[in-house]
């Protein structure tokens, strides 16, 4: 039976990641980074890699920990909880693309934290709205544009879906221009990439490449759900703490029934989102035939839950939650962006309609 709980190892992993983030990724630091030149936190990323999180899903034979995507999902919960500005999601999706494409030579450096690949597709690309492949040639070189890629700014290798296969491009190499985008989520700044005859190495060809990209996008939908659970959980926890301490009308704000009931609803939704995200992660980790359904369900459910939790957090912090100097807005921006990433909820519902045989009206 699918295991929807956290194992002891997973709880230990969570504890170590949380401890590291508590010390090295306080929100004040993340907030101050927004207006600087380096939206991603390279030092924090190095520390995380030092914990071994980049190798969790890499098989032991390739220098990884041989754990799996359930553990990756646990790390993402914690990263979501801290809105940490590190490219872990992008690296995890790239890991999946490399595994699915049978391209294993980058996995060792990746597991060791010495290589940050990213799948060069728009962050909004989902199962029904794939990336437009870029043009190949002449020779092993690529030309084209990919807009709005997440985690591309700190990447050193771009995995680019092209018309005849998946290619690896040196992000710092000739013919590659990476431009940061002013992003709705400034804790995960997107980038536009332009390739002009950029030298490229074929990683997987033809149908293998298409399958690898599709599989990676599915993995992205699954893994993002755990990040969304983490975001929502922080919003709930922070708001419960705030309304318990803050007084109005001579009482704690959290003693007002409307506030209590709204937070109870958020708690119910976060509990459900956790079950859904765990189910999806377990399916992904065990190559369950239900993975496609689980992924669509995860994004149809968890994305909106995180948005509602973040919106409730802003509202129930009152004026404070509307200020720049309180972290609530970082979570709101993260949640709203994530609700678009890997396809919006309505696109995933449309996928479900196909997957579980609930077709739309017959055209008349």
């Amino acid at each position: 039976m699918t295991d929807l709980l956290y194992s002891e190892d997973e709880e230990a992993l969570r504890d170590s990641v949380r401890a590291l983030l508590t010390t090295h990724a306080p929100w004040q630091r993340t907030l101050s980074r927004i207006e600087g030149d380096e939206p991603y936190d390279a030092a924090l990323w190095a520390r995380l890699a030092g914990l071994g999180v980049t190798g969790l899903a890499v098989p032991e034979g390739h220098g990884g920990a041989g754990a799996g995507f359930r553990e990756v999902a646990v790390v993402l919960e914690e990263l979501g909880r801290a809105v940490a500005p590190v490219p872990y999601l992008g690296v995890a999706v790239a890991t999946r693309a490399l595994l699915a494409g049978g391209a294993t030579d980058l996995l060792g450096p990746l597991a060791a934290g010495r290589c940050n690949p990213v799948l060069a597709v728009p962050f909004a690309a989902g199962p029904d709205l794939g990336p437009r492949p870029v043009a190949v040639g002449p020779g092993p070189a690529l030309s084209g544009e990919v807009a709005g890629i997440a985690d591309a700014l700190p990447a050193d290798v771009l995995l680019v879906p092209a018309s005849d296969g998946l290619y690896a491009v040196d992000a710092a190499g000739p013919g590659v221009r990476t431009t940061p985008v002013v992003s709705l989520d400034p804790t995960r700044t997107l980038a536009d990439v332009t390739l002009a005859d950029a030298p490229a190495r074929l990683v997987a060809g033809g149908a293998d490449a298409r399958a690898a990209v599709a599989d990676a996008l599915t993995a992205g939908a699954v893994l993002l759900a755990s990040e969304q659970v983490g975001v929502a959980q922080w919003c709930l926890d922070a708001t419960v703490e705030h309304v318990g301490a803050r007084h109005q009308f001579g009482r704690p704000v959290g003693s007002f029934q409307a506030v209590k009931h709204r937070l109870a609803d958020v708690w119910v939704e976060v509990s459900e989102a956790r079950a859904v995200a765990r189910y999806a992660a377990d399916c992904l980790a065990t190559a369950d035939p239900d993975t496609a359904v689980a992924a669509a369900l995860a994004q149809a459910y968890c994305g909106p839950v995180a948005v509602r939790a973040a919106e409730a957090a802003v509202q129930l912090h009152g004026g404070l939650g509307f200020t720049w100097e309180h972290p609530a807005h970082l979570y709101l921006k993260r949640a709203k962006s994530a609700a678009i990433a890997f396809g919006t909820a309505d696109r995933h519902r449309a996928c479900l309609a196909r997957l579980v045989d609930l077709p739309g009206p017959v055209a008349s």
Binding site: G244, R251, S255, A264, V276, L297, V356, V362
Partner: protein
């Protein structure tokens, strides 16, 4: 607990079946199963169990079902099995447990619950039914309401006020009431579906021996909380396959009647499917969590979700049916064993589902419970202590 495994339990069932004929006397078979400790496996020996982990119960039930053995018709005695049993197990005396658990489990004696009152509603602590000590007995006077199965029940769990001077939550005591005793009158309570699942129960000078008191005098509220926790878990915690329950009916209707589909309803059907599946996985996760532990307030969350889903899905089905959704089957008064949620019309489901967010704790009360017990938010200022 590690000596109990699924395989060993299956072996025990197989051994039992070798010596007991499942096609013979139904009641004799069930009594023997109880005595063999294969009724409630987590109960102690002698009380229907063998002290195994509770999450292994389904293994045993499935093994018996596969063999074609008769079951104890659990849905006919839901209050007994789901609520009275765990309460008696935890708070009852040795004599009480010995007397009541066996015929309860076999279904020989049906139980009901005398908690709600017309003037109290969800405020269970406002119970006004009085129990006054008189020698070795208590004499009970009052009125209870929303009592399912009272017209079939042999016994009732009863909450009554024994000390009117004490603070609301302190002055109550928990009893087991003989429903055949003089002074117990049961009247059907008709509900908006036209039928009467429930009853009003009038208690007039009903004598209850003190030996049927459960827990200490004045401790009724604490005992009742065990009952209520189990009620919520029982309602929300059943394991369902995907598309089990009402969403399955809606999905089937959608697939079979393409001419009824509209783009707007499609979106609603998909949203309902997603929510139903999320709630199902949550229930599954809760079962995994509870496997070895105590029932907690998480069951309240599931009850809110399932009530909302039943209301939403049945309402949607009525709309999907359009002209057919304007037609009902019957308004005549009768007394069903239990609500026929999957067998009757969509309109019946829609109407009956309105009760889901009222019975067994309104969704409002449950939200407050979650806010206070799970999230630790402060209580409202109280004026009725």
């Amino acid at each position: 607990m590690s000596e109990h495994t699924a395989d060993r339990l299956r072996a025990r069932v197989a051994a039992f079946l070798r010596t007991h004929d499942q096609r013979g006397d139904r009641l004799g078979f069930l009594r023997a199963r109880f005595d063999a400790g294969l009724a409630w496996v987590h109960h102690p020996p002698g009380l229907g169990g063998i002290g195994a982990p509770q999450h292994l119960q389904p293994v045993v039930d499935e093994a018996f079902a596969r063999a074609g053995a008769p079951d104890n018709r659990p849905r006919r005695n839901g209050i007994g099995l789901g609520m009275a049993a765990p309460t008696l197990l935890r708070h009852g005396t040795v004599e009480q447990r010995d007397r009541w658990l066996r015929p309860m489990w076999t279904g020989e004696e049906v139980w009901c619950q005398l908690f709600s009152e017309p003037g109290a509603g969800s405020d269970l602590a406002a119970v006004a039914t009085r129990a006054v000590r008189d020698g070795d007995d208590w004499v009970v006077d009052g009125q209870k309401v929303w009592t399912s199965l009272a017209h079939r029940a042999r016994w009732a769990i009863l909450l009554a006020r024994t000390d009117p001077a004490a603070p609301k939550h302190r002055g109550m005591t928990y009893f087991v009431c003989d429903m055949t005793a003089p002074g117990v009158e049961v009247r059907p309570l008709r509900q908006l579906t036209g039928e009467a699942e429930f009853n009003e129960v009038f208690l007039t000078g009903v004598r209850i021996p003190d030996t049927r008191r459960v827990g200490a005098v004045g401790e009724g509220w604490r005992v009742a909380r065990t009952t209520l926790m189990n009620e919520r878990v029982a309602i929300g915690g059943r394991a369902l396959p995907r598309e089990g329950g009402m969403i399955g009916l809606l999905a089937r209707r959608w697939r079979e009647r393409p001419e009824l589909r509209t783009a707007g309803l499609h979106e609603e059907v998909l949203r309902s499917w997603v929510r139903a599946e999320a709630a199902r996985l949550t229930a599954l996760r809760l079962r995994q969590q509870l496997a070895a532990g105590e029932p907690g307030p998480e069951g309240s969350a599931l009850k809110i979700s399932f009530a909302g889903l039943a209301q939403r899905i049945s309402g949607l089905e009525v709309e999907l049916l359009g002209g057919q959704g304007l037609r009902h089957d019957e308004w005549t008064m009768h007394r069903p064993e239990e609500p026929d949620l999957l067998g009757r019309t969509a309109t019946y489901r829609y109407l009956r589902a309105r009760g889901n967010s009222i019975e067994g704790g309104t969704s409002e009360i449950l939200r407050t419970i979650i806010a206070e017990r799970v999230l630790g938010l402060p209580a409202e200022p109280r004026v009725d202590r």
